[in-house]
């Protein structure tokens, strides 16, 4: 099965296959019956529409139960422009996509504040409001009577740029548009934009920590998704020629979500298959005659039992998220160890991370109380303290997850207090997490490339078109990744997906990803937790290498043995206060530390020794 799947995946991914399919349909449609051509056009529109959901829900993880709203905005916009104002369809459809994109952008602001079920509810509300507006706005939309007479192929009233278009020609136009959309979406998925979508899908916090702004990324996802849905809607208007509010009600939102989920979220080919199946399904189900409606429901009910990962999961290998062309280019380049060399400028003296009198209160609870510390470049500072002493809170405050109640944080002389997390990453203060937060279905290499997201500066258009400049930039980062892979000992597992790897390997991958964000200060939150002896040694070596690179390193950990011969300075926190600052040897003798912390830590340490 898996061999069959790989063969099928290779075929489906092959450009020659795409070309052959498009050509066959392009030429063959003249021999098909009008009904077949029409239903194929419906299928193409469903494909574009499902890509819209795939982008938003499959990639960026934002569920939508109101996508019929965007679809409807596109349909009515193009329909009204073309019929009432005589705008050429070649212009009205792009304008429709643009209007729907604007609607998507606007929706992203309220929607960006909520997730999961709440987001489902909010988008449901959006769809319902659109539906009510269309029904009541009689003067513009025709209200419940609908909007007839839109120039369309079915009515022989359609012309594009002055050329009469019949149903088959319209199918050819839509086919080319759909093919273009698929190519662009595929390129986007395999670019910094698609990977950023997945990053915020999995963890907005982790994405922010490596400089991917959750808010702006979501806005982009909604805008692009709105544009695609609007495009599909515009094309739909000129297919059917009549727009009625019932065509844009909740069932259409549900239908496209069903297509996307059953197809396999995140897979482009899966969406294409699923959209085709579901467009033809009602007709196929005519054979069930009186049980047709029930049969449709049964298929939906058990789709997940039968196809847990959708059609794509059954038939195809999981998609990959780096353009093969970029990978091939990177092979030509040699591993680029520049990423591992100390930087000349900026990282020199005075480049320390300073926490000055930071206080953090949650309601009545004081988690950090007037904490000050300083992390010097080229030095490893350990932050220790019992559970609940505020270590992670401090990391969260420094990395921008919490805004401190009082105090200042500066890096390299610049005030970074209260900046959003991605801006702090851009200021080159990067963190890791207690539990590795990687994208589980990405390979190690893809996850590492996420770390370099901030350094990929090419535009979205360049990414969508996969311009050579964009690929070149990506290839350079891939070369840097080779060096980091070698350093972290991950070269052999570089192309395995994270979810298949053991815990220690994931930790290391996360450290590697942080390195690729080119930090000058790095905050490692318990990186050694759960590692084996060998893995711990490897980690210690990597941390020493980072020190040699001149990074300012803040290291949180419990293992005194691990810290002992690694760190330069120690800061001890207890109940949110700094109780000790200095060398690690002296710390063991400090009475305050012994009283507050070392007592139980020493006890556990000796237990470990006995075990």
């Amino acid at each position: 099965m898996s061999r069959l799947r790989s063969a099928l995946s290779r075929t489906v991914a092959h450009p020659a296959f795409h070309l052959a399919l498009v050509l066959a349909l392009l030429l063959g449609c003249r021999w098909l019956s009008a009904g077949t051509v029409q239903i194929l056009t419906f299928a193409l529109i469903a494909i574009i529409f499902s890509q819209s959901i795939n982008l938003l829900t499959g990639l960026a993880g934002q569920i939508s139960l109101g996508h019929a709203g965007f679809f409807g905005i596109g349909a009515y916009c193009s329909g009204i422009l073309a019929k009432t104002h005589g705008v050429d369809v070649a212009l009205s459809v792009p304008l429709a996509a643009l209007l729907a994109a604007a609607a998507g952008w606007l929706l992203s602001f309220p929607a960006g504040r909520v997730r999961d079920v709440y987001l489902a509810m909010m988008t449901l509300g959006f769809g319902m409001i659109f539906y009510e507006i269309v029904r009541e706005w009689n003067d513009v939309t025709g209200g419940t009577m609908g909007f007839p007479g839109v120039p369309s192929a079915a009515l022989h009233t359609l012309s594009i740029l002055g050329v009469r278009i019949d149903a088959a020609a319209y199918f050819q136009v839509v086919l080319l548009v759909a093919a273009l959309v698929l190519v662009l979406v595929r390129n986007l998925t395999q670019s910094r934009i698609g990977r950023a979508f997945f990053a915020i899908h999995v963890s907005e916090v982790a994405a922010g920590s490596i400089g991917i702004p959750a808010g702006a990324t979501k806005q982009l996802a909604y805008t692009l998704s709105g544009a695609l849905a609007g495009l599909a809607g515009g094309l739909y208007a000129h297919l059917v020629g009549y727009l009625g509010p019932e065509s844009f009600a909740l069932p259409r939102s549900i239908e496209v979500l069903v297509i996307a989920i059953v197809g396999g979220l995140g897979s482009i080919a899966g969406q294409v298959l699923s959209a085709t199946v579901f467009t033809f399904l009602p007709e196929r189900l005519q054979v069930f005659s009186e049980y047709q409606f029930i049969a449709y429901g049964v298929i939906l009910t058990f789709s997940l039992v039968v196809l847990p990962r959708g059609i794509a999961g059954l038939l195809l290998d999981p998609p990959r998220f780096i353009k093969p062309r970029a990978l091939r280019r990177a092979v030509a380049l040699r591993p680029d160890p520049a990423v591992l060399r100390p930087e000349a400028a900026g990282g020199g003296d005075g480049g320390s991370l300073e926490v000055a009198s930071v206080t953090m209160r949650f309601g009545g609870l004081v988690a950090l109380d007037d904490v000050s510390l300083r992390v010097e470049p080229g030095r490893i500072t350990a932050l220790v303290g019992p559970n609940g002493s505020g270590k992670s809170t401090l990391v969260n405050v420094v990395s921008g997850l919490y805004r401190p109640s009082a105090g200042r944080i500066t890096f390299e002389g610049r005030d970074i207090t209260g900046l959003p997390d991605h801006r702090i990453a851009a200021a080159r203060v990067v963190r890791t997490f207690q539990d590795p937060r990687l994208v589980p279905h990405f390979t190690v290499r893809e996850n590492l490339l996420l770390g370099a997201h901030r350094l990929l500066r090419h535009t979205g258009a360049a990414a969508a078109l996969a311009l050579p400049s964009a690929l070149e930039e990506e290839a350079q980062q891939l070369a840097a990744i080779e060096a980091v892979l070698a350093l972290t000992n991950l070269t052999v597992v570089a192309d395995r997906t994270i979810s298949t790897l053991p815990y220690g390997t994931r930790r290391m991958a996360e450290v590697g990803r942080a390195l690729l964000a080119r930090p000058r200060a790095i905050l490692l939150d318990e990186p050694a937790a759960g590692l084996s002896e060998a893995e711990m040694e490897r980690l210690a070596q990597v941390i020493r290498d980072m020190k040699a690179m001149g990074l300012a390193i803040l290291l949180i950990d419990h293992h005194m043995d691990f810290l002992a011969d690694l760190v330069d300075d120690v800061v001890v926190l207890d109940s949110g206060r700094v109780i000790y600052r200095g060398g690690i040897a002296e710390m063991r003798r400090d009475p305050a530390v012994i009283a507050a912390y070392l007592g139980d830590e020493a006890a556990t340490a000796s237990e470990h020794a006995h075990a």
């Binding site: 829900t57 569920i63 139960l65 602001f109 309220p110 504040r113 909520v114 999961d116 079920v117 709440y118 489902a120 509810m121 909010m122 449901l124 509300g125 959006f126 319902m128 409001i129 009510e132 507006i133 009541e136 916090v205 549900i254 979500l257 069903v258 989920i261 059953v262 979220l265 009186e290 049980y291 409606f293 029930i294 449709y296 429901g297 049964v298 298929i299 939906l300 009910t301 058990f302 789709s303 997940l304 039992v305 847990p308 990962r309 992670s392 969260n396 997850l401 919490y402």
Partner: protein
């Protein structure tokens, strides 16, 4: 302060209590699994239709009601086992359950249309009739609605008592906070989740019966629209918050009736959804919910 106003207020409270009752049912499964059964409306419909059918076969009304409730309770088991569990297992965090529960709702609609017909069936008066009322401030307050309100309030009180005072309630609360931890601590998580779906389905059945007798008819498409307003009520009050469900339900009912009465009846529905979006944007945890603590 005239009759016009009071009529609208009483109507708002009345329909609001129906929304609240539905919202409570939705909350139950949200507590345990963070999922909602999109087929909830179909369960309401099926229960009401079964009551009509069983009663028409000569069964006493009480027995017909019990029969209908038994069937939907059994379907609750089915929902959990075949639509929710595979979806949650399949891919953590995906929203596949939206598809499977919707599909389940469609099957029920299809079956009902096939075997009972799609024409609206008259629903008998189970508790009180349309003409039974008490007089409040010179206005007739229908006893049929009052039953729903009383039931919603008492269910909320019972649920609060259950969660606060009983071991099982504590377990439900623990699962709502962290199911994995609850499992580790040896709680019968599976059983409690299953129980929540059965209870939620039973509530759907009760809501179906009580709301069908108010309108007087039930047909296969019955329920879906009501559940949408149940969603709005649940979100408005705060998902997972019992008292919030009541407050949310009443708020949706009152606001939509007042907007309908004073501004335009055409805006009655849109306003509820505008309210939903505004609430989510400004205060996602709802009127009475606690903000969700994000684990940074």
């Amino acid at each position: 302060m005239d009759d016009f106003f009071f009529s609208l207020v009483l109507a708002g409270i009345s329909v609001g209590s129906v929304y609240a009752l539905i919202a409570i049912g939705l909350n139950l499964t949200f507590w345990t699994t963070r999922t909602l059964n999109f087929g909830q409306g179909s369960l309401m419909m099926l229960c009401a239709m079964l009551v009509v059918f069983l009663a028409s076969q000569g069964l006493a009304m009480a027995l017909a009601v019990i029969g209908g409730l038994l069937v939907v309770a059994a379907l609750g088991v089915f929902v959990e086992r075949f639509t929710i569990r595979p979806a949650l297992v399949a891919s953590g965090g995906s929203m596949g359950w939206v598809v499977s529960t919707l599909g389940f709702g469609i099957v029920l609609q299809g079956v009902a249309a096939k075997y009972f017909g799609s024409q609206a069936m008259a629903f008998p008066d189970v508790l009180f009739t349309t003409q039974d009322y008490v007089t409040v401030l010179g206005q007739h307050l229908s006893l049929q609605y009052l039953v729903v309100l009383a039931l919603s309030v008492s269910l909320i009180l019972l649920l609060e008592l259950f969660v606060r005072k009983t071991v099982w309630g504590q377990a439900v609360f623990a699962i709502s906070l962290d199911p994995e931890l609850a499992l580790v601590q040896g709680m019968p998580v599976r059983l409690i989740i299953l129980g929540s779906f059965v209870a939620s389905s039973l509530l759907a059945g009760v809501a179906g019966i009580l709301s069908a007798q108010i309108g007087g008819t039930v047909d296969p498409a019955f329920g879906f629209d009501l559940v949408l307003f149940g969603f709005v009520a649940a979100v408005l009050g705060g998902m997972g918050c019992s008292v919030g469900a009541l407050v949310g339900g009443l708020a949706v009912g009152l606001i939509s009736k007042l907007v309908g009465g004073y501004i335009s009846t055409a805006a009655e529905h849109a306003i509820a959804f505008a309210l939903l979006m505004a609430m989510l944007a400004l205060r996602p945890q709802g009127l009475l919910g606690r903000p969700e603590v994000s684990k940074a």
